[in-house]
Symmetry: C2
Subunit: 335 residues, 2 copies
């Protein structure tokens, strides 16, 4: 085995197989990739980066990094109602890694990509590989398509609309606690359930597509339920009231909060759940019930859109009617 | 001024103005951007990253970083014959920077982006901003369009084709020497000409578009004339012979090599020139002359495509008929 892999070797050995399913990738041999768009469709494009030590622990399994990267990016497509088409990948690889470390990492990481891209029916179509004296940094650009004029947006929520959220909320924030060695009293299966939600986002692509024409505004829950709903409110020029007791919790999150109710604000404020939060007129509630049934995915009504924003921000949280404080760090500060 | 800028502040203050010209950017307020493609066109997508201390000196002016990033990415579009449509940008910003440093950097960097994007008639449509404990790392994804079926490729060169290159070669590699304090005997205007070529790539977009239907294979000169021609040869299953004395040099490069002929291999092997190297049948030579005249851009015939690849690699370099050794580091090794 070579002690230093050439960039060409890296591409042909590890990445070209991920591009084999898509003619427009041109075998990763060209300067750029080609993407055709069916008539009547608009392309949807998003890009997100994750940094070792910031967005995932340095020692995390490379397969999980692959799942996180794809999940985070496809979640943005889900929030627009788009169907994924393909992705590009930029790796900044630590120059301190030995050839052997690099090879092992690439082997497991690309196996993870292969698994996740197959699950979503997409292929790698391009990218770049650079060395960095800093931490491992991965940037993905995801391309999708949506019927022209039907993309979901953050703007569009109207006074009187109801607020819905998919799945369960707070698992990733509680999973981060578990990863840090906290919540020792929680049962082992609950701990692993929370960790799994933190490490492997499951982008709600099927839901996003079905919400076209049903939801008035949509965002994915990446920075936290309240922060992301705040963005919907800001884009729509409205404010919202959330009933904290209606926010759906997994059995694991319920157990953690049952042990320590002080964790509830963390669950509501924490990010990385990659559920969809959306608004729609009350008249659409039956349709939303049908979608939940079709997808076998709980869709909970957790609040409503009210008038213009007050002094206490775009989202007020109530707990059985009383004001309830939720930290929204993700919304406020560049970290 | 705030000591810590929020991500939202960064977007609204520094980046949203760069997105104002493109409706599909959705004001950078949504989870993804929308891009419509005119009928009959294919989308062309590329992504490239640059890292402080690797691809540019840590202390370099932020405006130059903006120009380099846009230039490097649009050069890939040029090599496919594409017209640029829009771009996305991911910034990994050093967490060690103070709020004031961050603000000043963003101010100058985004002013540079504004200037360069206006020069190419494109807008920012999306991106991500993350913190890193490592060096400043910037990733751009550039989108372009080309007539369906007319994209230029690296494959397609045929035995008997001539090899052409645009502009002048080796300036960036020599500029890197100047940046490192070498070449002290060179005249000041030559030194600054070489530095300018290193710092500000000028992607050959107009040439790329005109080469559709004229060139049989095209690449941009990013890793070095010989390395990039080697990729054309590998993709096309041919080999090439280059006459070193025909490779066009700028007055500054000619002066440097005149002082020290040992610099000629460096000029031929070094990267970052962002010219286009292409092949075409001899019958197209008059058409190529016309294109050179229309664009006021020299297009030099520097060699020819010969049979299959020999033991000494896909590209042989001759100097007045005798074998001439050129280092091709960029082609071989991940750095």
């Amino acid at each position: 085995l070579p002690t230093r892999l050439g960039e060409f070797d890296i591409i042909s050995r590890f990445f070209a197989p991920l591009a084999a399913g898509e003619a427009g990738a041109l075998g990763l041999l060209d300067d750029a990739a080609l993407v055709d768009l069916p008539p009547g469709k608009t392309m949807v494009v998003t890009t997100d980066a994750i940094v070792a030590g910031i967005h995932f622990p340095v020692e995390v399994e490379p397969k999980l990094i692959a799942g996180k990267l794809i999940g985070v990016n496809l979640s943005d497509l889900a929030a627009m109602g788009a169907q994924p088409l393909a992705y590009l990948l930029v790796l900044a690889l630590p120059s301190a890694w030995s050839g052997c470390e690099l090879e092992n990492w690439l082997e497991v990481f690309t196996a993870g990509l292969a698994e996740h891209q197959a699950g979503h029916g997409i292929s790698l179509i391009g990218g770049d590989t650079v060395a960095t004296p800093g931490p491992l940094t991965l940037t993905m650009t995801a391309l999708g398509s949506v019927e022209r004029g039907r993309a979901l947006r953050r703007q569009g929520a109207e006074v009187g609309d109801l607020v819905f959220v998919s799945g369960t909320i707070g698992d990733a924030a509680l999973g981060l606690r578990v990863a840090k060695g906290k919540l020792p009293h929680l049962a082992a299966d609950h701990r692993s359930a929370l960790l799994d939600r933190l490490s492997t986002p499951r982008p709600r692509l099927g839901l996003g597509r079905r919400l076209c024409g049903v939801a008035t505004a949509v965002a994915d829950v990446s920075d936290g339920l309240i922060a992301d709903l705040g963005r919907i409110c800001a884009a729509s020029g409205v404010s919202a009231v959330i009933d904290a007791e209606r926010v759906p919790l997994s059995p694991a999150a319920a157990a953690a909060i049952g042990n320590d109710p002080a964790l509830l604000p963390l669950a509501l404020g924490g990010g990385d759940d990659y559920e969809l939060i959306f608004t729609s007129p009350a008249a659409a509630a039956p349709r939303i019930c049908v979608i939940a049934g079709e997808l076998d995915l709980p869709l909970a009504m957790i609040g409503r859109i009210v008038g213009v924003s007050g002094a206490d921000g775009p989202v007020r949280v109530l707990y059985h009617g009383a004001p309830f404080a939720v930290p929204i760090a993700g919304w406020q500060h560049f970290r």
